[in-house]
Amino acid sequence: MAIRRAVIGLATAVGGGAAVVALTGMVLHENGPNTAPLSAAVRGTAQTSQGPMPHAFLTLATYPDSMAGEHGKSGGAHPDWVSYGPSSSLRVPAHALVTITINQYDSGGTITNPFFAQARGTLGGTMTVNGKSETKTNADAVGHTFTIHAAPTNQDPLFVSVPLPAQDDNAQPAPGSDYPKPIVVQFSFITKGPGEYAWNCEFPCGDGYYAKFGGPMATRGYMSGTFTVV
């Protein structure tokens, strides 16, 4: 009788405790951006300096609010935060030429580190802004940057950073849109082997927070995300 009670009690304590831990884990695991990853579309083969490679395309956008990206039309918890869209979770093929197009709708200002006003890690160190080839942008009129970084040991290093020029502060919404006509920035780079990278914006755009790096900059699903090379 006593043994039976001990076994039941022990099982209750260990099983119940494990269940509580597992439940906490499930809740915390779900707590975060759960957008479906945006995979680059592969269209044809490109001739590169490293030979023929699949050519993958991704199109992104940067908004002055959160009502057009992955947080839905209502904008989620912080509709007034700046955001990237349509997803913060990006996926591209390995050993491929990747061309990313970003439609920039947001205004901006002076970047803290001019290093990021220059295109880096792209093919030829260039990007096109509204179709015009450039190597850098005015450091006093940056809207955002798209910066893939981190070279965690044992995976191929990948560092790509392009500045997105700012919209004029007085830019009027384009007809039929909530946003002005976008500034279109396009750039290409070659991926190496598979890896898990992070990307984020290096232009301080978390207004109201210390160093403007809080809020949307420090919260998943706005100005940062994952960049998976598969």
Binding site: T112, P204, A211, F213, M217
Partner: protein, 255 residues
């Protein structure tokens, strides 16, 4: 007490069963721990600078110095469990010997631990002076390191302000890093070179090293700096002087 009386006491003490037993366990443990002393430096990997070599030597020496102390504590503990253990569910019917204190034991323990402590301090001060030496070298290469949430960038003021997201260092030349931050506190750490200094907003801190092994080494942020702290990593490439010059020129600078 005369010398012969002391000798008798020591001999009597050595005759005791526990003295010999504990001594045997202590010897085995000490040898094992001294052998283990080489494990930390092995895990830390081949050093890429004299600084890291000094750190790894410190780990080894300190482990070896601590080995007999840890061994005596564990030897007595182990022996007591083997030989002095009271088995059963009831309170032991007899108490142990009423030893309140032991002057010689306390004195020896205190003196030994003070000597060890003095050794640690002297070793540490000498080592600290040694690892600070590259900072004063005349031919030192100066590199400005900027930490910001969540990337490192480097610029070479003496090489025409070449900028890079990765660090390139010429072999065997002293390097002085001036480290600062654009926002929160980061910590600049070249793992295999054993140097680390915080990047503070509004302040410039300094560290220095002589890279003495060719290769690619890890730079990590060692101070929690927010969302992507874990991704704040880059590489340090140690190359020959010629390759370094080539790299500088290719990036628009001059040596």
């Amino acid at each position: 007490m005369s010398t012969s009386q002391l000798g008798d006491r020591a001999r009597g003490w050595w005759q005791r069963r526990e003295t010999r037993g504990i001594f045997a366990i202590w010897t085995v443990l000490t040898i094992a721990l001294i052998a283990f002393g080489f494990v930390p430096s092995h895990i830390m990997g081949p050093p890429a600078s004299p600084t890291m070599r000094a750190v790894e030597d410190t780990m080894t020496i300190f482990t070896i110095a601590a080995a007999p102390v840890a061994a005596i504590v564990w030897a007595i503990a182990l022996y007591s469990l083997l030989r002095w253990r009271h088995r059963g569910d009831e309170i032991p019917t007899q108490d142990g010997p009423a030893i309140r204190s032991n002057g010689p034991a306390t004195t020896v323990w205190l003196v030994l631990s003070s000597i060890l402590c003095a050794f640690l301090l002297i070793w540490g001060l000498a080592e600290e002076t040694a690892v600070a030496r590259p900072a004063t070298a005349a031919n030192a290469l100066v590199i400005n390191v900027t930490g910001q949430q969540w990337v490192w960038t480097f610029s070479y003021p003496g090489q025409g302000n070449v900028e890079s997201d990765q660090l390139y260092l010429p072999l065997n030349r002293p390097v002085v890093f001036h480290v600062t931050s654009k926002d929160v506190i980061h910590s600049f750490w070249i793992v295999q070179m054993g140097i680390k200094i915080d990047a503070n907003p509004g302040e410039s801190t300094e560290t220095s090293v002589i890279p003495d092994r060719l290769g690619v080494f890890d730079i990590r942020c060692a101070e929690l700096c927010g969302l992507l702290h874990a991704d704040m990593e880059t590489s340090a490439h140690v190359v020959n002087a010629d390759d370094f010059a080539r790299w500088v020129n290719a990036n628009g600078g001059h040596v």
